[in-house]
């Protein structure tokens, strides 16, 4: 997947000379997860800017650059570091188009590795989707496959709105054959992973793989789950989700976000509001525990949703077969 991201970013940088990358170790080092490897030699150090460690200020600098004609892609070495840039992301990124009465656009893409990894410790294992989701004016997407990673990267760069692209630390080595021809993915659309009839399972990022793994067990036990990778964390694709709910009448959300104020919490209420009459039962939601990610292996495993929990949840919602 890191090569897909690199391809997407590289193609956009070739296509539009205003696209540039700003972040720590993006140039000479090639990016902490090698997404920008080779870019410095190819595009030069002004287009792949190695910054000092000053997230709030260089994010603000990217915003000023975007207001004056460039299209920066800001890399958070780990997405958690972007918490230091929260001032600029919330106040300036999200707000300036509005407070300027539409005079300035902020076409920045903010991206980086996030999520719970393998014993990286609490601060490097953060799930930031919930923190940024309320900021008005931002779009958020989460990639989960090499195909959608490249497509979403390209679409995010071309979008006139500020977009946060969530990548996951454990998915960078995923392999997949992707088309040679140029393509982008729609930022606002969800992705059908597995059509089904019994229950709609909504998920994103790494949890997609826990869901598909659980699905194998579920299918063996006679269930037919429909799996949708929502991809667009903000705004939600209420059409794809709605059509599915109308078909299956049962919903389970599986996310890596914390339970409190997470994507699942928002999604649950959005579905309930729009599709109440279609539901045969309460919307289930499996989220990470509201704990700082522990270092120790067994505890870390307990923090995120595991496939067996997904199987149990589906059995509870659908009834035993």
């Amino acid at each position: 997947m890191f090569e897909a991201l690199r391809e997407g970013l590289g193609e956009e940088m070739e296509r539009d000379p205003n696209v540039c990358v700003i972040g720590e170790d993006v140039g000479d080092y090639g990016g902490s997860y090698k997404v920008t490897k080779g870019f410095s030699e190819k595009f030069g150090s002004w287009r792949v800017l190695d910054t000092p460690i000053a997230e709030n200020s260089f994010t603000g600098m990217a915003i000023g650059a975007a207001m004056t004609g460039l299209r920066p892609v800001v890399e958070g070495m780990n997405m958690g570091f972007l918490l230091l840039a929260y001032n600029q992301i919330a106040n300036n990124c999200g707000m300036l188009h509005y407070t300027s009465g539409g005079q300035f656009t902020i076409p920045v893409v903010i991206r980086g590795p996030g999520g719970v990894g393998r014993q990286l410790g609490a601060e490097h294992s953060q799930r930031l989707e919930s923190y940024f989701q309320s900021v008005p004016g931002l779009q958020m997407v989460a990639c989960s496959t090499p195909y959608n990673a490249k497509g979403l990267m390209k679409a995010a760069i071309r979008c006139e709105n500020p977009v946060i692209l969530y990548e996951h630390v454990l998915l960078y080595n995923l392999k997949e054959k992707i088309p040679d021809e140029e393509y982008t993915c729609c930022l606002e659309e969800a992705e059908m992973v597995r059509p089904g009839t019994d229950i709609t399972i909504l998920t994103y990022s790494r949890m997609r793989y826990h869901v598909t793994q659980a699905a194998k067990t579920l299918v063996d036990r006679g269930y037919d789950p429909e799996i949708i990778d929502i991809r667009s964390l903000k705004p939600f694709d209420m059409y794809t989700i709605g059509e599915s709910v109308k078909k299956t009448h049962r919903v389970l959300i599986v996310e890596e976000c914390m339970r409190t104020g997470g994507i699942g919490a928002s999604l649950r209420s959005a579905i309930m509001e729009s599709f109440w009459d279609e539901l045969d039962g309460p919307i289930g939601c499996l989220s990470s525990q509201d704990v700082p990610t522990p270092y120790s292996g067994p505890l870390e495993e307990l923090t995120v949703v595991q496939p067996h929990q997904i199987v149990t949840a589906v059995e509870n919602l659908c009834g035993k077969k």
């Binding site: 000379p17 910054t51 600098m61 000023g64 650059a65 300036l96 009465g101 694709d237």
Partner: protein, 339 residues
């Protein structure tokens, strides 16, 4: 300077008459800094300011009508009434904002300078390099963003000028109580940056220092940090009772009123006559009166304006249950902001 002073005085009147609301921060006393720097700039140069931005906007060329209408919250304001006193923006005049949180605008100015440099280095554009000026106060000079930006601007030799309007007070916090080394201009050399200190009550002195800084930036030799000793004649905002500042201090600076000083200079050196200066003041009064009339007569924003500028691309509101983008519904902007 006179426009700035008359405008701000009118703002105070209008505020107490209930025509504008919220936090309004007036610039009285500091006019020499705004005029001294901004009048050297071109329309293609950039300025960022703080919440005390009305006069920076006027100096940069934003019409008084648009600023006053913005303050009244009308849709004819420079930001359609959506920004208000602390968020003045003008794409036409290179005003990149008005920011309420201190320090927030400094990286934005550095970003605009980065664009200038990028356009030279990468896009090979020619002609004069646009420069940016970031205006901020003494309180901001203790903030992380200030130091981070000094480093980056000097590191990459960006065409930005950091102007500290040191009026000695951050609301009720005296500069000397909050700053270990109060000489702000001395912090530039720690980053290898050219720095200067200037009497911010004297517009001609400010202009001299500003000229050097602008020239340095334009020829690609990088940023300058300039500390201007100045003073605000009014409280921090119209809500500030201004009880902490000593009367002696206020009197000292009132005697150094930049407008009075320039007037004296013009008359003493026979550059202008009393009559000419009076006619300028009269013209300015008319401009300010006209601005108020325009703002008064302008309409308030309608319901449909609420959602229009949340996203540059309104597809960001997403796809609704009916399969269409919510923004495709003609009644959309009069509805609710659901995503």
């Amino acid at each position: 300077m006179v426009l700035g002073r008359s405008f701000e005085d009118m703002c105070a009147q209008m505020y107490y008459r209930g025509k504008m609301f919220g936090f309004v921060h007036l610039y009285n006393g500091q006019e020499a800094v705004s005029t001294g720097f901004i009048k050297l700039l071109k329309q293609t140069d950039f300025v960022t300011s703080t919440y005390r931005d009305h006069v920076h906007a006027l100096s940069k060329g934003v019409p008084a009508r648009q600023v006053m209408a913005e303050l009244f919250g009308k849709s004819t304001g420079c930001c359609r009434g959506q920004g208000g006193s602390m968020h003045m923006f003008s794409a036409e005049h290179g005003l990149l904002g008005g920011f309420a949180f201190i320090g927030e605008g400094i990286p934005v100015a550095v970003g605009a300078a980065f664009t200038s440099k990028y356009k030279r280095e990468v896009l090979k554009e020619e002609g004069d390099m646009p420069v940016s000026i970031a205006f901020f106060g003494d309180g901001t000079a203790n903030n992380g963003q200030f130091f981070e930006c000094l480093n980056m601007a000097q590191l990459w030799k960006l065409p930005v000028i950091f102007v500290v309007e040191n009026n000695l007070w951050a609301i009720g916090m005296s500069h000397y109580r909050s700053t270990s080394d109060p000489e702000i201009w001395k912090k530039g050399p720690a980053f290898g940056m050219a720095s200067a200190h200037v009497d911010g009550m004297d517009v001609l002195k400010v202009r001299e220092v500003a000229k050097e800084a602008v020239e340095r930036a334009r020829r690609g030799d990088g940023p300058t940090l300039i500390e201007c000793e100045t003073y605000r004649f009014r409280g921090h905002s119209l809500a500030d009772p201004d009880e902490l500042r000593a009367p002696a201090e206020k009197a000292h600076y009132a005697a150094r009123d930049p407008i009075v000083a320039l007037k004296k200079y013009l008359l003493d050196n026979e550059i202008a006559t009393e009559a000419e200066l009076k006619s300028i003041e009269k013209k300015i009064d008319e401009v300010v009166e006209d601005a108020v009339e325009f703002a008064d007569a302008s309409p308030l924003p309608g319901r449909s304006q609420l959602l229009e500028n949340v996203f540059a691309d309104p597809k960001g509101f997403g796809i609704g249950p009916d399969g269409r983008y919510r923004c495709e519904d003609p009644g959309f902007t009069a509805g609710t902001a659901q995503v």
